[in-house]
């Protein structure tokens, strides 16, 4: 049973701002479908006693003390910007709403 079709890939690509050709969309739909099916197979094997795992290493509570460290110099920061003005990044006109 196919769960990932070309339309779904096109929708995700649009959300992720990835420009795909129709050929790429079709190929990825096939590849991703295989991956999703594989994961589904694993899910069948995993019983309720296996907790969902987001990290391979069983590690928790990696916390930092609330102490101020080194910040980057402004020149270095803005050296990364295609355009800058008044110490800020200048970006093209923003369409749509803030989140």
């Amino acid at each position: 049973m196919s769960t990932i079709n070309a339309d779904e890939v096109a929708r995700l690509a649009a959300l992720a701002r990835i420009d795909l050709t129709p050929e790429e969309t079709d190929r990825l739909a096939g590849d991703l479908d295989v991956i999703v099916q594989s994961v589904a197979t694993v899910s069948e094997v995993a019983g309720d006693d296996v907790p969902a795992t987001s990290h391979p290493i069983p590690l928790t509570n990696v916390l930092r003390d609330d102490v101020v460290g080194q910040t980057l110099p402004l020149e270095d920061i803005l050296a990364q910007a295609p355009q800058a003005e008044d110490g800020q990044f200048a970006v093209p006109q923003i369409l749509g709403e803030e989140q």
Partner: protein, 496 residues
Amino acid sequence: MTTLVDYDDAIARFDPVLGIEVHVELGTATKMFDDAPAHFGAQPNSAVTPVSLGLPGALPVVNGTAVEYAIRIGLALNCQIAETCRFARKNYFYPDVPKNFQTSQYDEPIAFEGYLDVELEDGEVFRVEIERAHMEEDAGKNTHVGGSGRIHGAEYSLVDYNRAGIPLVEIVTKPITGVGARAPEVARAYVSALRDIFRTLGVSEARMERGNVRADVNLSLRATPDAPLGTRTETKNVNSFRSIERAVRYEVSRQAAVLDAGQSVVQETRHFHEDTGSTSSGRVKSDADDYRYFPEPDLVPLAPPREWVEEIRASLPELPALRRRRLVTEWGYSEEEMRDVVNAGALDLIEATVAAGAAPAAARKWWMGELSRTAKTSGVELADLDVTPQHVAELQALVDSGRVNDKLARQVLEGVLAGEGAPEDVVTARGLEVVSDDGPLLEVIDATLAEQPDIAEKIRSGNLGPMGVIIGAVMKATRGQADAGRVRELVQERLS
């Protein structure tokens, strides 16, 4: 849609349901996931690290103090604290989010299933159920250049990432039902109660006007309380208590008009306009709201040890509602006086003044009178004035002992505010003590009576009417340093 249904009419025919999301910026020294200072307002882009900028390879590390603050908030809101929870990526594209995702929490918030009892103006207590409180990070700040300065029509935007990554806790209510006509009041009281709690917990400065606390207000209408929930709108970033009330009122009237016209309310975000008190359509919920949340691979899960949670619980300060109830009894204030004190940010100051020895009524008189006026005139908060509760208590002690009268006390206070030192120092330096030695006072009185023989005669013949003239003249001659009561006695002695 410009026609509105009268608010009372709308409430008579529809049942409003609220839902409120409040974001609070935590007052930590550093950001949520990196050690840049969490201090918005500095020179643009002066408080950023590779993590704040989302540079490739930069790795986040969770701020332990921010977690502690989030747990404090959760406990104060009677929430359960998760035994284990995760961070998640909320994916969307906007220039103020440099990583192209916001690190947040999704299906595993740190705190959940709580409630807050909110006291309304008339003393009625309303319980607001809390669904969750989760940790996330703030975005940077966009300034739109050209055009009108608003988003539409701007030619380009400038981005400052100092705010990007400042720790936030977002508190989400369950649908708040049964509010009826009091919906605006409940919304306001809830956010106001949260603000007080944040301050009491010491987790945020919680200044609405600085955007430390931001509220998104969801509202829907339904025909009757038994009906399923109607379609809601979400009015974003309503940033003052008054605006929260107005936004709710407006949406009730507007949605009632839409429903009356046989149309459906559109599920959308809306913007509140301070100038007109109205809301306007923002973004319709769409495909772009598919944030594709997934667990943040760069951060390991958080499992706050139970001992830590209990330690935090034990260290929680007395919460505002309880404290207010205790103090109103201890101090003998009226409910209204207490509310004014709280709204003026004078509660801590008065408590400290009382602790330093002043009577509660006197402490209130100074902080809510003279000092409030001074603060207002100079546009600063009461707490930022150059006067301490200790000073105010000392000043009142001077009044109580009769060493200065009210008028002199105000001059002493003026000196303290001007940085001339403690009240005692100002009294000495300015020579403001009440003249209590009768000798010099009698000299002045005799001279005054000699200057006004007609009036002296009238008083001598039993007409005490013009007494004020003599006392006034004596007070003037002594530059207010005489005790008016004593002057009256002496004048009567002299003329008897």
